[in-house]
């Protein structure tokens, strides 16, 4: 048996990070990087509790032969100071890319999101990876992610030997603390925008783990890939599937109410994100299927089921 590959995984202290590490450490030697404290990591996972921007991060590369980096540690906390947010994301990611090149890491896999395309009324049903990243136009907080996606893309030519893969994932559902999972977990009736019922694409957290592994294993693969679980449904049907009801509210009223609640810290959803339940924003996943041979195991309804069943 060949030796397990050394994988540096960022953002392991979040719920998604912890879930992924548990899946990944069976196949890889996982080295975690996250400045936050964490609990319940598998014993064989080495956790460096360092801020990603610190010079000490380079020691990880000096002391270990890193084969690949899975960069999941994007900060998306809208209550956080914007400048700090931006600094952490951009500087941190640039550092990682520089080390990857310097220490001849083979692969750099970055977890982005189909949200970077931005929900728009003029979107095609399925957006290809070549679509312009328009999310920042209406919703400034996602500009960080758009910037990061473009930053990583720029290394395709800056570091041609590094195999860079950007996975643009649909809304990730699971035992997570992210906006789509929290939205679907709201108690019935769930507010929706009156007169709008866009189709949705999601990804089961296990499918995401498989996609990361598949991206690592596909030799020589480079580029950007949209990934999602099987099938699409309108929001109304997703809510119906959970045996919950809808509370349709006219767009301006919902925006106003939500922005007030956001200011009063009664809601974790910023009003600008409402476009996600108004317009479509789905990725065309053909490329991932053809080049990465990524075939999702779960359907959209499995992903909804996973909201509450997986407990750890």
């Amino acid at each position: 048996m060949s030796k397990k590959a050394n994988i540096l995984v960022t953002g392991i202290s979040g719920r998604l990070g912890r879930f992924l590490v548990k899946r990944l450490h069976r196949e890889f030697n996982v080295i975690g990087l996250d400045r936050r404290r964490t609990k319940s990591l598998p014993k064989d996972v080495l956790h460096y509790k360092i801020d990603i921007r610190r010079n000490r991060v380079e020691d990880i590369f000096r002391n270990n032969k890193i084969d690949a980096i899975f960069h999941l540690g994007v900060m998306h906390n809208l209550r956080q100071n914007e400048k700090e947010h931006h600094d952490f994301n951009i500087i941190g990611t640039t550092r990682l890319l520089e080390y990857a090149e310097k220490y001849k890491v083979k692969k750099f896999i970055f977890l982005s999101s189909t949200n970077v395309y931005g929900p728009k009324s003029t979107n095609s049903q399925f957006l290809s990876e070549n679509e312009p990243l328009m999310a920042g136009a209406n919703f400034s907080a996602i500009r960080d992610l758009v910037d990061l996606d473009m930053l990583v893309t720029s290394y395709f030519w800056k570091a041609p030997k590094l195999e860079i893969i950007i996975l643009r994932a649909a809304h990730i559902l699971g035992n997570l603390n992210n906006a789509p999972s929290n939205y679907l977990r709201l108690s019935s009736p769930i507010p929706t925008i009156m007169g709008f019922d866009p189709m949705m694409q999601v990804i089961h957290q296990s499918d995401l783990a498989d996609a990361l592994i598949q991206a690592y294993k596909t030799k020589g693969a480079k580029g950007i890939f949209n990934i999602a679980s099987k099938g699409e449904l309108p929001i109304s049907q997703m809510i119906k599937y959970m045996n919950k009801s809808r509370l349709p509210i006219p767009d301006p009223m919902l925006k106003l109410a939500l922005s007030q609640m956001w200011l009063a810290k009664l809601s974790s959803f910023p009003a600008r994100e409402l476009d996600h339940i108004k317009y479509i924003c789905m990725g065309d996943t053909k490329r991932a299927s053809e080049i990465l041979n990524f075939k999702p195991k779960y359907t959209i309804t499995d992903a909804i089921d996973s909201l509450n069943t997986l407990i750890f």
């Binding site: 049903q125 399925f126 290809s128 009156m194 699409e232 599937y241 317009y279």
Partner: protein, 269 residues
Amino acid sequence: MKMLDSFLNRYKDKIGNIQLELNCKGYDSFGLDKDFLAKMVSLAEPFYKYYFRVETYGLENIPKDGRVLLISNHSGQIPIDGAMIGLALFLELNAPRFVRSMVERWVPELPFISTIFNKAGQILGTRENAKQLLENDNALLVFPEGVRGINKPFVDRYKLAEFGTGFLRLALQTKTPIVPIAVIGAEEQIPVIANFKDLGEKFGLPALPIPVIPAILPTKYRIYFGKPFYFQENEDTTNEDILSYVNKVKDTIQEMINNGLSKRKHIFW
């Protein structure tokens, strides 16, 4: 209630027989809702049969299966012509076909209407959507005149407005046959005295037509389906070739319109 239910669902089985790629909830990936479509068809069918009393000619020109681009003139202020073409292919063919049409770019902004269009299988008119639908062997209805056609003033009725070239490039790229269609009767359904285009644009609409009377008149619809075109592309195909193909389609439709008009004795019957 029971009567209404059976009225609304009387086409459920017929729609169920059409081959559509649906997921477990009866939706396709473009948002078509089979049960919703069955209800829409049931509601629209009386208008097709008893209000506009649609007559069709040349339905045998529609390929029985596989991808096809249906290219038609566009008129009547609101797109009833599209619905009638769709119903014709569903109600009159022995093996019914489901027609998808491409909607204007501002439609998805409209509450309710966007949802209704979507659930009835109508898609935003982007190149990527059209390409994917044809690659999946759908029948796709396109009005190359767009809003230029549907909002034309009464004096210009039955004169085709300028055709875009997108549909032809798409047909060449996806190797899709083109069936030309002429719709007679839609131009007179809502006679318009003026079009306050500038005012309409302030409300985000492409036009603001003012009708003579605020009603849709029961004009008689006649729909002519022409012989399919099979254009082919090779390395030497130039822009001029494409323009000449477009004009060929346009001239054919204009000729079909003229023929239809000369045979028509009255607007209403």
